[in-house]
Symmetry: C2
Subunit: 218 residues, 2 copies
């Protein structure tokens, strides 16, 4: 907020810290700066309330420069969504694929997934809450990625349930609930809060663990 006339040399570390290293590979440099500016702006104000002038300004460029690197404003959102989703899916997949019991895999998956949503809450907010602004084709492509993360999680629950390690009455519903829990972190997390991303991840992993474990009957 309040950086309309900010010095161009300014918040490079700021942007990098809050807005992600996931876009490191994007070239040329100007295209990456535009992406980072867009992530920031979309997360702060939402897609529709963000102007192309704002995005270009954050990247230290004129409004017209945006259209050299991206066809439309929506394509900018799509790139963010795509890269962000790919990143989060791969975080989840890696955690769930590791060895150990199904309980281990589940705990690791939740912890890492949550941690990603907290650490990259700026990107995650855009990724999770601005989907509706995507064009139809782009939307379909993203939905496919989301299906993947749901399937990964469901796979762990099914495996644990089949082996008797878990006791889950409604696997699909529980999967959805766990996803909700993790995703919603991006909505409320603030680096100023009292908990670190890792602490939240650990807490949530524990809560989820309890959700799927059979209870001592009172």
């Amino acid at each position: 907020m309040a950086s309309e006339t900010g010095s161009p040399a300014k918040a490079d570390e700021d942007v990098r810290a809050s807005a992600d290293e996931s876009f490191e590979g994007v070239t040329p440099d100007a295209a990456r700066r535009l992406l980072l500016g867009a992530v920031e702006a979309f997360a702060e104000r939402g897609f529709h309330a963000t102007t192309t002038r704002d995005i270009a300004g954050r990247a230290g460029m004129s409004p017209a420069a945006l259209y050299i690197h991206y066809k439309t404003k929506e394509e900018l959102l799509f790139q963010i969504s795509k890269v962000g989703h790919e990143r989060s899916v791969s975080v989840l997949a890696e955690a769930a694929d590791g060895g150990g019991t199904d309980a281990d895999r589940l705990a690791r998956a939740v912890r890492h997934f949550v941690r990603w949503h907290a650490e990259h809450h700026t990107t995650a907010r855009v990724v999770q809450y601005e989907l509706a602004a995507l064009g139809e084709e782009h939307y379909e492509e993203i939905v496919e990625l989301r299906r993947r993360s749901e399937e990964i999680l469901r796979g762990v629950l099914e495996s644990g349930d089949a082996s008797g390690e878990f006791e889950v009455a409604d696997i699909r519903g529980t999967t959805l609930a766990v996803m909700s829990l993790c995703i919603d972190v991006a909505r409320w997390y603030s680096p100023k809060g009292r908990r670190t991303p890792d602490e939240i991840g650990t807490l949530y992993a524990d809560l989820v663990q309890r959700m799927v474990t059979s209870q001592a009957v009172a």
Copy 2:
């Protein structure tokens, strides 16, 4: 776990029922129609992507008519947010205040809160995800209401933890998690889905129950 059936299927068969009976008291009629139109539009496209012309159109009126009943578009959002929050807080409070063990109170609270978010998902979506578009003063007022619902839930957890009925390591964190779970229902729920609001409420109440209960040590 008293049976609190109430009327069997008091669901209004009106198609508009999805858009809420919470605004029944709003008069005159035109003002209410505008509110309902705004809820629909905001839920579909988001506040910033919705035009005053769209809202007025849904209410069957000319764009200018909106300004007879509301000062700005933002005030429309504020009214929706306020009424919606008041409604959801009162649903939560009523459920948590009822008798029974703390486990009963918690289960009832989650079930009713979730059910509200599913049944009134259109309103809930606006209420929960469009806050950022509110003006500063209005925003503060709404945040206060949200604090209330968090406190109600935390109260139940604290009570159950103190009495030994629950075993919660991190009460604030768990409160937040439960709130997340319930609220996020509004984001993904669709009446076309395979689950009824009541089924989701019951499932979630069970999941939360497990979250706060001490585990059988394997």
